[in-house]
Amino acid sequence: MTAADDPADTAATPLMGGLQRRLLLLLLFPFGMLVLVGTWLHYQSAGSAALQQDLLLAKLAPMLGDSVVAAASDAPDATPAGRRGRSAAAGGETAADRANRAAEQALALPRPVLLLAPPVVEFLTQTAGATGYSISSIDGQQLLGDAWLPPMMPVTREPEFISLTQGGVTYRVIAQRVYTAAGELIVQLADGSDARQQWAGTVLSSVLLPNLVLMAVAAVWVRWAVRRALRPLMELKTAVEQRSPRDLSPLAVQATPTEVQPLVQSLNRLFAMVNAQAEAQRRFVADAAHQLRTPIAGLQAQVEAWGQAARHIEKGGAMRLPVEQVMRLRHACRRTSQLANQLLALSRADATTAASQAMQRVDLRALCEAVLAQHLDEALARHIDLGLDAQPAQTDGHEWLLRELLINLVDNALRYTPAHSSVTVRCGVKDGQPFLAVEDNGPGIEPAERARVLQRFYRVPGTQAEGNGLGLAIADEIARAHATQLQLEPASGGQGLRVSVLFKRG
């Protein structure tokens, strides 16, 4: 009944198949439970049906006793009773007829006179062939009734019940000692209308079958209804599926059902974010390519010039290169590779990339020591006193990104601080917040320029030192990936620059 039964349907719309299956199960499960509970309750009522049967028999047995009107064994006297029974039967051989015939055959015994009470007649005739009676003396000798009934001899006056099977029919038989007009006798009544069987038939025809039919109908209907109700969702799915990766325009919110609108709105928000990111990426690649051109142009110009000069030299010959030119070339190369590294760092520092990895506990002091050691030679070459002021501090972050951040800050300070000045790498905890800072006593940055130096590729006008304008942008990007940002301020002496990152309290 579920959508899964239809493989083509499932393959075409797995979303719908899943929902359909789920809805069907959810709806049909309580329904099935209802059917089961109903059936169980009916089953319980079978017990009471059997009790009803016994009660009826117990009521009828004394009446059968009362039907014995005399002990006389006068044959003609019995006839009216038989006639009466026949007339009550209204056609067809009844148990009463058979009883009378059997009684006539038992002429040897003194037959009591029987005048069946109307409820007994009704009982004996209501289900033809499925009832029987017997009247016996207290020693078990049958006087009247159906010969197939086995003799029963109750000891007390309480009614006794047995069940017996005769000719494929299960009878409930009552036997009771009663005082009659013919003295103390044993009366027996048999009821072959099996209450439980009747009950089963009733349950099957009136409870189970209609319920099952109802369930089947409900399943078909639910399947249809789900399909119909989910149509807008399927249309949305198709609309999303058919989009090209470049098409990130928002989906129409109005055309979707109310319940799905939040989903569509979320999707639209995501589209907008991806759009903005893609745009930023495009702009960045364009900027990067533009920036890479400058140092590469320098390299190319230099080498082109040598190539030109080399044309006049024979094959296998050598040419002399001025030391200054070689050094300049090396410098251009280093600048190019530095730019490539920085561009790569910038792309990796992208907040979304960083967010995909788990943060770890980072020892800022160890980080400062490592970065300091790494820059000692450079500082030495630039005649800058590079020092450390590190207090124990830890923060949660991406160690490799924080290292990149600090490298860029130190690099920046060494690059833009004049010779014979000092640069200090600091870390510690300030008001419960861990921080990283790099401080120099160089020229500093004008307040008006401070916000702009964080922009990519921006360089302060008139700067002599070589750079790509990326160092602080990278550091800021990394700081933002750690839910904070770069702070630029004058160094503690009021002169120079202090660039710091204040991490969240941890």
């Binding site: 190369c333 280093r334 590779s337 490539a340 590294n341 790569l344 020591e369 300091l372 050691a373 000692l376 030679d377 030495l380 006193d385 590079l386 020092g387 450390l388 002021d389 590190a390 490799w400 000092s422 200090t424």
Partner: protein, 232 residues
């Protein structure tokens, strides 16, 4: 010092080879991991520089193969990929250090010197730095071939500095190294030993530089262009 260079890019390889030869290394250059394994069987190398992006078998696999073939010489991996995973994997597979491409020659030379000193210390118990040699087994130091007299605390400080070189040694680590000798030692006491050591090492051109807020570092007069080892 015999060096095995495994690099398939001719331009990069010729540049590195030129620089290393100039620094005093005997360089054997091969272009593939397979030929590198043959070369390692044929000759004894002191150190190898292996590019990670080799055709067929890559640099990491080569390192693992070298190690499983029983070659213990230090391996420095060159990589243009800088994913953290590569670094960790490389070091796990038996590489001793790695460098990102592109790199500057002086840095490569410094790394190689550090690698060689470490492998030398592991095998011979003799540490060397420029003209300085410290035989840790016999507790004898020599400077430019002549015996160098060192007090026990001076020895401890210098040995620690030498183990760290070319990286700087943190002052508090030096203090810890000295606490075996004195229960209570002040940072000022270290400065005493440092100044004594300076007096002994400076005639041989070895500089003991103070790093503000951090510690001290042993330096050779011209870090960039000097040969890898005086004795190599």
């Amino acid at each position: 010092m015999r060096l095995l260079l495994v690099e398939d890019d001719v331009m990069v390889a010729s540049g590195i080879k030129l620089g290393l030869c100039d620094a005093g290394y005997a360089v054997d250059w091969v272009g593939s991991a397979e030929r590198a394994l043959e070369a390692a069987q044929a000759a004894a190398f002191d150190v190898a520089v292996v590019d990670i992006g080799l055709p067929k078998m890559d640099g990491l696999a080569l390192t693992a193969a070298l190690r499983s073939a029983g070659h213990a010489f230090p391996v420095l991996i060159l990589t243009a990929r800088d994913a953290l995973q590569d670094r960790v994997q490389g070091l796990d597979l038996g590489a001793d250090d790695y460098m990102l491409k592109p790199f500057e020659l002086p840095e490569l030379l410094a790394r190689l010197r550090a690698l060689l000193r470490r492998s030398q210390a592991a095998t011979s118990a003799v540490l060397s730095f420029g003209a300085l040699e410290m035989d840790t087994a016999h507790r004898q130091a020599r400077l430019a071939g002549a015996p160098l007299e060192l007090g026990p605390r001076e020895w401890t400080v210098l040995e620690y500095l030498l183990m760290q070189a070319p990286k700087p040694a943190a002052k508090d680590k030096l203090l810890q190294a000295l606490t075996g000798w004195d229960k209570e030692i002040t940072p000022n006491a270290i400065e005493v030993y440092i100044s004594r050591l300076r007096g002994k090492l400076e005639p041989a051109g070895i500089v003991l530089r103070a790093i503000r807020g951090f510690g001290y570092r042993l330096e050779l007069p011209a870090t960039a262009g000097s040969p890898a080892h005086d004795g190599g």
